[in-house]
């Protein structure tokens, strides 16, 4: 059961540039969080920004009653959170959402994180490794500075970096080394992706072409985090559905079967969808 409570910042580590690792005290999230779940969190009680933000849980420590977030300061919500002093208080609701699912025994896990979309994969990678499965993590970004978790992740996972400027790892998009790996991988594989929409869409296409299962963690604007505002809906078409339906990313996701997601450009332009029923 998620808990809504104030939550103090007990750790902050700058990871260079806009990247921070923040640790909050929140016993329920620490105890119950599963990889892929998120919290809704907002620093302080000021009118700005008016909405809390969803963040994937990077790590949870039941013993310390803390969870950690990997945050890039990109707007007022993330900036306010990273500006909290130690001991400062945020309003936090969590853990929320549908987590990633574990692959069947004998199926390898291939994780693909882009930019700050890497956030849930430390947690997921650790859990899958603990269960004895083969895990490989592909970590993409624009440049070395955008992969601030690389050293940390390498301590416990098999990580393949890729950067668009070639400053670390493979040169170019992360999908090239991913495809090379899948060409050579033995046995069934399941893909997990979180990052920019274009990257997740590309991973979904790769999975579909190879008839592999894939899960993606979607990141639309969210209002409430618990399915009341209906602001975060995404278009999803399950195997048994005759047309797509709006599903709340907060309660029915954020993790979805990649094959069920109707991506922008998959159908006619957005403007022509004046209602769900037209698809």
């Amino acid at each position: 059961m998620p808990a809504n409570r104030t939550s103090s910042l007990v750790g902050r580590e700058g990871l260079g540039g806009p990247y921070f690792l923040l640790t909050f005290l929140h016993p329920e999230t620490a105890r119950e969080a599963r990889p892929g779940q998120f919290v809704m969190i907002k620093a302080g009680v000021s009118a700005e920004p008016p909405l809390p933000r969803p963040f994937s849980i990077l790590e949870a420590s039941p013993e310390r009653e803390t969870f950690a977030l990997f945050v890039k300061t990109i707007g007022p919500g993330s900036t306010a959170l990273c500006s909290l002093p130690l001991g400062g208080v945020a309003q936090c609701l969590g853990p929320l959402g549908r987590p990633f699912t574990r692959p069947p025994d004998g199926t390898g896990a291939v994780l693909v994180g882009g930019g700050y979309g890497i956030a849930p994969f430390s947690f997921l990678g650790a859990e899958l490794s603990r269960h004895g499965g083969a895990v490989r993590l592909f970590y993409g970004g624009r440049a070395r500075a955008d992969l601030p978790l690389l050293a940390r992740l390498r301590q416990r996972l098999d990580v393949v970096p890729a950067t668009e400027d070639g400053s670390v790892g493979a040169f170019g998009r992360v999908t090239a080394p991913l495809e090379a790996h899948l060409d050579e991988a033995k046995g069934p594989q399941r893909l997990y992706a979180c990052g920019p929409e274009a990257m997740m869409h590309a991973v979904a296409r790769i999975a579909a072409a190879r008839q592999l299962e894939a899960e993606v963690s979607l990141d639309p604007w969210m209002g409430c985090g618990v399915g009341t505002c209906l602001g975060c809906v995404v278009r999803v078409q399950g195997q048994d559905d005759t047309r797509w339906k709006y599903r709340c990313a907060c309660t029915e996701g954020p993790v979805f079967d990649a094959a069920s997601v109707v991506w922008p450009g998959d159908t006619e332009s957005r403007a022509r969808h004046s209602a769900g029923g037209e698809a």
């Binding site: 009680v45 009118a47 639309p220 604007w221 409430c224 505002c229 602001g231 957005r270 209602a275």
Partner: protein
């Protein structure tokens, strides 16, 4: 200390009500917060049938505000009465249903269904949603239509009828009087303000529907002004709504003449806000030597207006120059 108020013939144990569209059907927060801390809950808007709602994206943040075009996605009144209502009856809070319609007849029909359902305290009539093509604001933007909808609902139910007025009009008092004339028991003032936010890189509206409704602290002064105008224009109680996130904010509406208030967008930051605001309200009453929240209602000392004042004028705080 008394925090209970009476609005439209129903007793609210305190003046804080969750606003429609920001609290789902109430059940989503079961177990997460104590629903008994709320004076009442207004359901998400309900038509006769389920609705898909507006295209995505549906929400976007703006300065101190939230612009939304959800488009009244909902499960429909029959599913609400059958599946949701039984789960809410055990909670000690007043349940109000937000009634929607594409036509006058549909509003009346939804009201009729509610009339026969136990556990509903009152109906809030949504004639002010800016995010649907039919109904909604079309009824709230024409006083004759406002009258027609409210009269039709009035005839269809014994439950108290509380139209929710639109701020997207030149003179809200015209609509407040039309609703009162048609038999409304109270008014909710206000719904969201019509807005437009543009992504200049793509030159597309940032919402899938195009325009949206603005809520949050950004609209509070507008909401207080309109609730105040409406409260002075009619004899029925007004429920103030718009940008409330603290007791201070709620008190502005009460002082302006509202008998109760609704909290909306602030639920998203902290659905447990009610407990904090109630504690702050009690603190305010104590500081001002009052024992009843109703003593605060309509106590605004407006410049230039004669008032039966028994005390010396209060020292005025000059905002912004300190």
């Amino acid at each position: 200390m008394n925090l209970a108020v009476e609005v439209a013939g129903i007793r609210l144990k305190n003046p804080l009500v969750a606003a429609s569209g920001t609290f789902g059907y109430g059940v989503e927060y079961q177990g997460l917060i104590d629903l008994a801390t709320l004076g009442g809950i207004v359901s998400k808007g309900l038509y006769l049938e389920p609705r898909d709602g507006a295209p995505i994206p549906r929400i976007v943040e703006t300065p101190a505000g939230l612009l939304n075009a959800i488009g009244l996605q909902g499960i429909g009144i029959h599913a609400f009465v059958r599946d949701v209502l039984p789960r809410l009856r055990n909670h000690d809070t007043a349940l109000l249903v937000n009634v929607c319609g594409d036509t006058v007849e549909e509003y009346a029909e939804v009201a009729r269904v509610c009339d026969g359902a136990p556990g509903i305290a009152a109906l809030e009539i949504n004639i002010s949603c800016p995010n649907v093509k039919q109904g909604g604001m079309a009824f709230g933007g024409d006083p004759r239509m406002t009258h027609a909808v409210v009269a039709a609902v009035r005839a269809a139910t014994r439950l108290p009828v509380i139209p929710k007025l639109s701020p997207n009009v030149a003179d809200i008092t015209v609509f407040a009087r039309a609703a009162e004339d048609a038999g409304a028991d109270a008014l909710s003032c206000i719904n969201t303000l019509l807005g437009l936010s543009i992504d200049v890189e793509t030159r597309l509206p940032r919402l899938g529907f195009g325009t949206g409704g603005l809520s949050g602290p950004a609209i509070r002064p507008v909401a207080v002004r309109m609730a105040w105008q409406a409260a002075r224009a009619v004899g029925i109680p007004v429920i103030g709504v718009g940008g409330i996130a603290s007791a201070q904010d709620a008190l502005e509406f009460l002082v302006a003449g509202c008998h109760a208030v609704q909290i909306g967008t602030a639920n998203f930051v902290d659905p447990g806000i009610y407990e904090r605001v109630l504690a702050e309200l009690v603190g305010y009453l104590e500081r001002h030597g009052k024992s009843d929240i109703r003593e605060i209602v309509g106590t605004l000392d407006y410049p230039g207006e004669a008032k039966e004042s028994t005390s010396e004028p209060r020292e005025r705080k000059i905002g912004g120059t300190a």
